[in-house]
Symmetry: C2
Subunit: 458 residues, 2 copies
């Protein structure tokens, strides 16, 4: 039995490890274009600044380590086509240019996603980078070493852009951030965006929202960026907008593509083709709150999907399920922690919910306990049922608040549950009543008003 | 309509505030023996050491502040008896000795609990203290100022004893801790107790487990403590064992007492008597995991119970419910965070469950992210259903892990839910897969083995 896995980052390597554990006899080969497998891509912004000092720490396992476990990892190999009927693959060894055929009994597609540069003049200039792979950060690192850029421009105010902004500031650069929409952190509500922008400003980052890049200027090397009639001098550009799922190979082989443009899979991570599974940033899933198809290219989700795909592919059975995601995410920007789970108010309305929300500013520990820092939490609930739909947190302990709310979403809890929830209290860890309980209590007041409103209009 | 509340700490003041908000007309009087209401008792260990610098920070609201809201708070008053038929109270003003009668339409009993000294010779000596009220910490503070004790002995290795041990060490004292059972933190499994003991030892605390105090020695003032044939020199003793619910007043009035020796209430915090509710450390509740009656004298729970009792008492209706607790708790001892929710392995077995558990040692952030610290997590599940029964965490981020597991318990989640749970990941906040997910994955392996075991034996 031969299992072939396309892609060797989070989903692919997890699938390989699971399959190996479940079936010690199976032949397992992983193909990957990038020179190193098993990269912690989420750590790349921190490698740029030296917060993570050693590059090797971001390589979880080398091909040699995989070989010890009986998993063949072939890096610098590109799979050019899949013959799903004949269960064959055309492969090119990128180091030699040599093409060859391979065959599989079972196939896991974990081809991930790629970052794209905006289609504007000058995007090809030296000094304009994206940050997706370790090879990207190697290139940026070399450029910084050689050119000592003083002014940097980030394009895109999402997770990656914000993390990179912080890390370039750590290197002493003067950083500007350009965002096409009217605020950064667009996946969040406006309260959180405001806090993120205030944190950026407090750390000297220039923010240009509602601006689209028209052109990168320079001769060979980038020297400026034009937008909205302005031109900003810049020595380095990092683009953090636009990632695309790598689905072309699968689509050409006849794998069905879902509504989000990623590979359609069932709850067992099975694609539309026999003996072909998919996992990770190239695969579609379901947002369990909205019930809608979702594309969530995140490392932890890829890992979880890889586990399910690898298990089912190893056994050729429907053993494990991956039911979907909540849309949970988190990022750090300077000293601000920002997390989210479920739907934002706008996303909930878009998904057809009538929304009741409550936000509050409180502390991460008892107000009298030294070092107490502010924490913001917003809960979003369904007016009809009272069920939690989403939560956003910003400030100290946002990771805890986000995870508690994510777990509450998974359990289908409503605001009365959250009010009585038995969370852990001692003065170093929170206010006597958790911000989650406090916010749910405010929410309950709004539900009473909402119900009275209904009664009054009846 | 006159509402009387007996007790002015967490449950009593919360009930008063809620009632006032819901009914601006109602007369509300709170009686309390201690001189100050609305004390954050959980902060007392930190006041001892000066970690909390200002005593006033622990008084959430003065009687004058309550008066502004139209709530009469009468401190230094003891209610001596309740006439439930006539709805009358006998009260003594402890400042003047004057006795008088009061009447109520509705009554909330929130008389709390008291700390007790062990019934051994010398317990009455000067320098032997308990720590429950602000008046206790005032006394201890005065004693420390006057006597400058160098050697302190803590009796009891539970939350209070451990917190006090840390705070006396901060004052430069040589601290010994005596625990009657064979390990400290007995509500937890042995893995956590070991970590707590190691943390105590690393900070120079002498630990004497499996030892019961025979006698406190000294002439007028404590000078030693005898146990197991030894005598330890000591200048100060703080006893953190033995608290008793203040239920005598209620019991004499005919209020039914539950299996735990605390006031029996229904889900609406209603007692067995008409128009009498109870809340806080004197009231019984249900452990939602075991389904058994539980007594959980904790500040946050008291607060939540007070909200329900106050609301229902204000309206005289069954408006809110307090379904019960999970047994969640947390404490800090030096640099170790220790939290728990649900049942420990021993408690689960005692409650009739066949248990499967999995523990793991991991990190509080990506291993490559600077400052990564160890975190231990143990999950306890029901072999029959796979449902989570409890969790224990020790180390950095134990508060987050505990709260996530508490929320999972509330939602009735099983280990397969926990494996796929969509928690927040970025390198500063955890490993790519949360310790909860990792532990649940280990658990799943044990369930497979358990099932295979069953098959093999069939």
């Amino acid at each position: 039995m031969r299992l072939v896995i396309l892609g060797g980052v989070a989903a692919g390597t997890k699938a390989a490890s699971r399959a190996r554990r479940l079936d010690p006899e199976m032949e397992i080969t992983v193909y990957q274009e990038e020179p190193e497998p098993s990269i912690s891509e989420c750590g790349l912004p921190y490698l740029l600044s030296g917060v993570v000092e050693e590059r090797d720490r971001l390589v979880a396992r080398t091909p040699a380590k995989f070989a010890e476990k009986g998993v063949e990892v072939l890096v610098r190999h590109r799979v050019e086509s899949i013959d799903a009927t004949g269960k064959k693959l055309s492969v090119v060894d990128l180091r030699t240019g040599e093409a060859f055929e391979d065959a599989y009994d079972r196939l896991v597609i974990a081809t991930g996603a790629r970052a794209v540069l905006p289609p504007v003049p000058g995007a090809e200039l030296d000094g304009v980078f994206k940050l997706r792979f370790l090879t990207d950060s190697d290139e940026i690192g070399r450029y910084i070493d050689e050119r000592s850029p003083r002014k940097a421009t980030i394009v895109g105010g999402g997770y990656i852009g914000l993390e990179v902004a912080e890390n370039l500031c750590r290197l002493g650069m003067e950083v500007s951030l350009i965002e096409g929409e009217d605020r950064v952190a667009l996946a969040y509500g406006p309260e959180v965006s405001e806090k993120v922008e205030a944190e950026l400003e407090a750390n000297g980052v220039g923010i240009y929202t509602g601006e689209k890049v028209d052109e990168f200027t320079g001769e060979g090397r980038v020297g400026g960026v034009k937008f909205g009639g302005e031109e900003l001098e810049t020595d380095l550009v990092i683009v953090g907008v636009g990632i695309k799922p790598n689905v072309e190979l699968a689509a050409e082989a006849g794998v069905k593509i879902g509504a989000t443009g990623t590979i359609l899979v069932d709850r067992h991570m099975k694609t539309s083709l026999p003996d072909v599974w998919a996992a990770g940033d190239c695969a579609e899933t379901t947002n369990l709150v909205s019930g809608r198809p979702a594309w969530v290219p995140l490392g932890d989700t890829a890992n979880q999907m890889g586990r399910v795909a690898g298990t089912n592919a190893a056994k050729g059975e429907e053993i494990l399920e991956f039911p979907g995601v909540l849309g949970t995410g988190i990022f750090k920007v300077f000293d601000l922690d920002v997390g989210k789970t479920g739907l934002s108010e706008a996303e909930a309305e878009d998904a057809g919910f009538e929304v009741v929300s409550a936000g509050l500013e409180t502390y991460d520990r008892a107000a009298y306990y030294p070092g107490a820092q502010k924490a913001f939490l917003k809960l979003i609930a369904d007016r009809e049922t009272g069920r939690l739909l989403g939560a956003e947190a910003a400030g100290s302990g946002a990771d805890k608040l986000t995870d508690v709310c994510a777990t509450a979403l998974w359990g289908g809890l409503s605001y009365p549950d959250l009010i009585n929830l038995d969370l852990a209290y001692a003065p170093p860890y929170g206010p006597a009543l958790s911000p989650v309980i406090q916010a749910a209590t405010i929410l309950s007041g709004k539900f009473q008003h909402a119900r009275e409103g209904v009664r009054a209009s009846e």
